[in-house]
Symmetry: C2
Subunit: 329 residues, 2 copies
Amino acid sequence: MHKGCVIRVGDLGEFGVIRRISGRLPQGSGVILGPGDDAAILEAPDGRVVVSTDLLIEGRHFRRDWSSGYDIGRKAAAQNLSDIVAMGAAPTAIVVGLGLPGEASAEWLDALTDGFRDECALVGATVAGGDIARSDVVVIGVTALGDLGGRRPVTRSGARPGDVVAVAGRLGYAAAGLAFLSARREAAEAGTPDLAEEFVDAHRRPEPPYACGPEAAGLGATAMLDVSDGLLQDAGHIAAASGVRIVLDPEALPVPEAMARLAGELGADPLNWVLTGGEDHALAATFPPDVSLPPSWRVIGQVSEAAGEAKAEVTGRAETSGGWDHFRE
Amino acid sequence: MHKGCVIRVGDLGEFGVIRRISGRLPQGSGVILGPGDDAAILEAPDGRVVVSTDLLIEGRHFRRDWSSGYDIGRKAAAQNLSDIVAMGAAPTAIVVGLGLPGEASAEWLDALTDGFRDECALVGATVAGGDIARSDVVVIGVTALGDLGGRRPVTRSGARPGDVVAVAGRLGYAAAGLAFLSARREAAEAGTPDLAEEFVDAHRRPEPPYACGPEAAGLGATAMLDVSDGLLQDAGHIAAASGVRIVLDPEALPVPEAMARLAGELGADPLNWVLTGGEDHALAATFPPDVSLPPSWRVIGQVSEAAGEAKAEVTGRAETSGGWDHFRE
C-alpha cells in the first residue's frame, strides 16, 4: 500500500485485480458461464456466431491524460460492438484482455470496468470474461460476439449499381475534437471552451448508432460497414469488395454549423473531418433504390458500375478513398 | 525499403500487413465469413459458443531473442486453444489482435502467422480474423472460440469427495527450460546442450494434450482445467470452486530422469517445476472413482471433504496451492 491510501493495481496482484473487475460486472441472460473458468460459454441461438477483435494501445489509440478511464472503457467497447452491429447482428458479450502498468490506480481500473459495463448495457451485452497481464502501457484487447437472430449478415461486398449510399450516426465529430485537443493542449488542460466541448466529448466517447445495424439488415441493406477508417476510405472498401464505383455528394454530407465554426478557429476544412474522421463509428450502408429509409439514415451518394478501378470519390473533390492507416506512425 | 532488402512491417502499412497475413491463412470449413469485413462469422452448431481470451506481451510472456516468431505464434495459439479443450469443447477458430513495432521484419511476421496457422491446424481450427496496431513491443491478443458438440461443459466447480485427480500432458517441462535459459543465457546463445534441449523446446512451444479435453468430458470428468498457473495452484482453483480438499501424491507425479539431471545441474528441485510450472498446458481433471481412465490420463491424487479451507496440498510438502501470479513483476 502506498502513501495517501491510493491502491495501485500492482498491490492487488492478478487474482485481486480479477476479483475487483468481476465484482463490478453483472452477468447477462445470454451468458451460460461467466468469468472465473478457463473459458466463458455464451448462448448462440442462431447457430452462427459473429466475432470481431480490436487492440487499443495507450499513446496510439487513447491517452490517459486526455480521456478518463471510464471514457476509455466506453470507447474500447463501442469500437467492437459497432463492428458487430455493422454485420446486422446483435452483440451478446465482450471478452477483454487487459495489459496494466502496476502504477495504475485501482480507482482508474474501476472506472475503466464501469465504462465497459455501461457501453455494453446499451446493447444488452455484458463482459463475459477476460485476461490481465502486466504491461508498461495500458493495452486493451476487446473481442465482441454477436448473434444474427436468423438475419442474413450484411457484408461489404453486396453493393450493386443503382443502390443508394446512406449513413447513420455522426461523422467528423471525433476528428474535430481530436484536432482541437492536438492544437490546443494547454487550453484543453485549462478547460474546454463551449465551442469545442461537444466535439471533444465525441472524441472521448463515441455514440455509435447501434440500433441502426440490425435495422439496416431488416430493411434489405446490400452492404454495410462501421466507419472506422474515415467515410471516404470505408466507402472505398465497399466499392472494392463489391466491384462498384461509389460517388458521394458533398452537399448531402452533414457539416453542422458548430463544426464549421470550430474548423474556422483552427484553420481546418470541416468536410475533411467528415470524409476522413474514423472514430465516430457511424454506419455506412448501401440499399436498393426503392427502399424507404427511416430518418436515422441519410442518403449521401450513389453506387454505379465500376468504370476501371472500383473506388469511392466525392463529387468536385480530387481525393479518392483516402483515409486513416492505423498502422502509420 | 531498407538496405539489405529486409522488408519491415512499417514499410507495408496496415493494409499491406493484413494482406500479407491473410494470404498465408487457409479458411476453415466452419468459417462462414473470414477476415476482411467488420467481423467474422463462424458456425456454432451446438447453439452455445465457448470463448477465451489471452493477452501476451513481449518481455513478459515471451522474448524475441529466446523464441522464434514461429514458436511465439504456436505458443500464443496453444495457450488459448488449450483453454477451449479444458471446457470439453472443440476449438473452431481464433481471432488475433496484433501490436507490432514498425521495425519488425515481414519475415518474422510471416513466421508468427505460420505459427498461428499450424497450431490451429492441430485441432482443425483456423484464424478467422484479427486487428493490427502499431506498438513499441509485440503484443498478441488471442481469442479462441469452440463448440461443445452437445457435450456438457466441464467447469472447475464439479469435483466431489471420492473423485480421483488425474492429469494429461507434460508437467514442469517448460519451467525446466525457462530455468535453464534464465540461468545459462550465454550458454543458450552458444547453443543448447543435449540435456536441456527437450525442455528448452517445451518452453518455446508447448504441446497441450488437445484430444484429452473432449475425451475427459466424454468420460464424465466432474471438473477440469488447463494447468496454466502451476499444478498445485490450479488444483487449488478446482478445490476452491468445488468446495473440496485435494491431496496430490508426490510419488505419482512424473519427474523424468532427464529433468532430474537438469535440476541437479542447476541446483533446482525438479518437483518444484512439476508443481508450479504453468506453461506446458497440461490438463488436470477430476473423475468419479469408478471411471476407467485411458493411458493418456495419470491419476495423481484424491478429492476429499474440505475440512476447513478448500485447498490443494501435496502429501509430505508444506506448501499449499502456491504458484504463479501472472501479474507480479
